[in-house]
Symmetry: C2
DNA sequence: GTCTATACGTGGATAGAC
DNA sequence: GTCTATCCACGTATAGAC
C-alpha cells in the first residue's frame, strides 16, 4: 500500500461511500480501513473518536458541499424554474441517477439517529428553506412555498427508496424531471 | 421470566419492532432476546437460521398482513376514492402516524438488501399494482395509473423519511391526506 | 421449549515501534 | 502518519441440562 496520498477530503468521501452502502452499523472499521487504504490506527489518528468522528466529518462535508452546490444556487438571482432545474441536475449526479442511497436518510436509522439527529435535521431544514426561497420568488405564498418545498424533499427521498428497492433507477430520474413544474404549478 | 406465553405472531411482531428501530445490522440477538422475552437459544429453536430466519418471518408476516389489510381492499369493488382513503387510514396506523420507519425501506440497506431484495421488490410491486388497480377503476389509463401508483409509494416512503428526520410526524399525515385526491386528479 | 454455559469470531479501540 | 500487535467487549451460534 503506497504511503497514502489521499487528502482528507478523499478519505471522507470514501467513508461516506461505505456508510451509504452499508449503513452506520454495517460500516465496520475493517471495511472503512480497506476502503480508505488506511490502517485502523491511521484512521484513529485522523479521527480520534472513531466512527463517530468519521461520520461527523461526512456530515461536515455534506453541510459544505450541499450549501455550495445546492442551497446557494437555489437562493441565487436567476429564474426560479432554472434554479430548480439546476438542483435536480445536481442531485441526479449526487445520487448516481438513483443508484445510491441518501446518506442523511441512512443516518436516521438505529444508533446513528440519536447521535446525528440534530445536524441531519438542520440540513433538511436548510434544504427546505432554500427550495422555498426559489418558490417564493416564483410568486407562491409563504405557507404554500414551505409546504411544496417539504413535498419536494419527500419525493426526492421517496424516489431514492423506491428506485433502489425495485432496482429501477429510472424512477428517480422521472421524479426529478417532473419536480420543477410540479412545484411551480398554481 | 414466565414460560413464554407469546404466540409466534407476537414474537415476530416484536422482532419487527426491533428491526424497524435499529436496522438489520443494529438488531442484535441480545436485543431481540430482550424484546421477545426469549433466551438466545430459544430464538434459535424457533428460527434455526438465526436473524435471517427471523427477518424472513417478519417479511412473511408483512406479505400476509399487507395483502389482507392493504392490497385486497385496494382491489375491491368499492369507490376508488374510498379504497384509496381506506389505504391511507390503514397506513397511518401501520406507521404510528409517521413516527415509525418502514421495515421494507430499512431492509434495503447494507447486508439485508442482498438477502431480502427479491421479496422486498415483489412486495413493492404488489403494492403498486394494487394502487394502480384502484386508479384504473377510476378511469385513468393504464400507463398513467401505473406512474401515479409509483408516485404514491414514492410519497409515502419519502414522507416517512422526512417526518422522522425532522421529528415532525405531521408531515406524514399531511402527505397521506393529500394522496387520494392527488392520485385521482386528471 | 426453555434455560445456562460456552465457543469462537469480529467489532471498536489502544500501545508503541518505526 | 503509518504500521503491527494486542486488548476487551460483544456479536452470532451451539451444546447440553432440565
Amino acid at each position: 500500500m503506497p504511503p497514502a496520498v489521499l487528502t482528507r477530503e478523499e478519505v471522507v468521501a470514501r467513508v461516506m461511500a461505505v456508510v451509504r452502502q452499508r449503513g452506520y452499523d454495517g460500516a465496520s472499521l475493517s471495511e472503512l480501513s480497506k476502503a480508505t487504504g488506511l490502517g485502523k490506527s491511521s484512521l484513529y489518528h485522523h479521527f480520534p473518536d472513531g466512527k463517530d468522528d468519521m461520520v461527523g466529518a461526512v456530515i461536515g462535508h455534506l453541510e459544505a458541499s450541499l450549501e455550495t452546490a445546492v442551497f446557494a444556487p437555489l437562493r441565487s438571482a436567476g429564474q426560479p424554474a432554472a434554479r430548480l432545474q439546476a438542483m435536480t441536475a445536481t442531485l441526479d449526479g449526487f445520487y448516481y441517477g438513483g443508484r445510491e442511497a441518501c446518506v442523511l436518510a441512512i443516518l436516521g436509522i438505529g444508533d446513528a439517529s440519536r447521535r446525528f439527529h440534530p445536524r441531519v435535521k438542520k440540513l433538511f431544514r436548510a434544504w427546505i428553506d432554500a427550495i422555498a426561497s426559489a418558490l417564493r420568488d416564483a410568486g407562491l405564498s409563504k405557507p404554500l412555498a414551505q409546504a411544496r418545498a417539504e413535498d419536494a424533499i419527500v419525493r426526492i427521498e421517496g424516489a431514492l427508496v423506491l428506485a433502489r428497492s425495485l432496482g429501477e433507477p429510472a424512477i428517480f430520474g422521472r421524479t426529478l424531471k417532473a419536480l420543477p413544474d410540479d412545484l411551480l404549478r398554481r
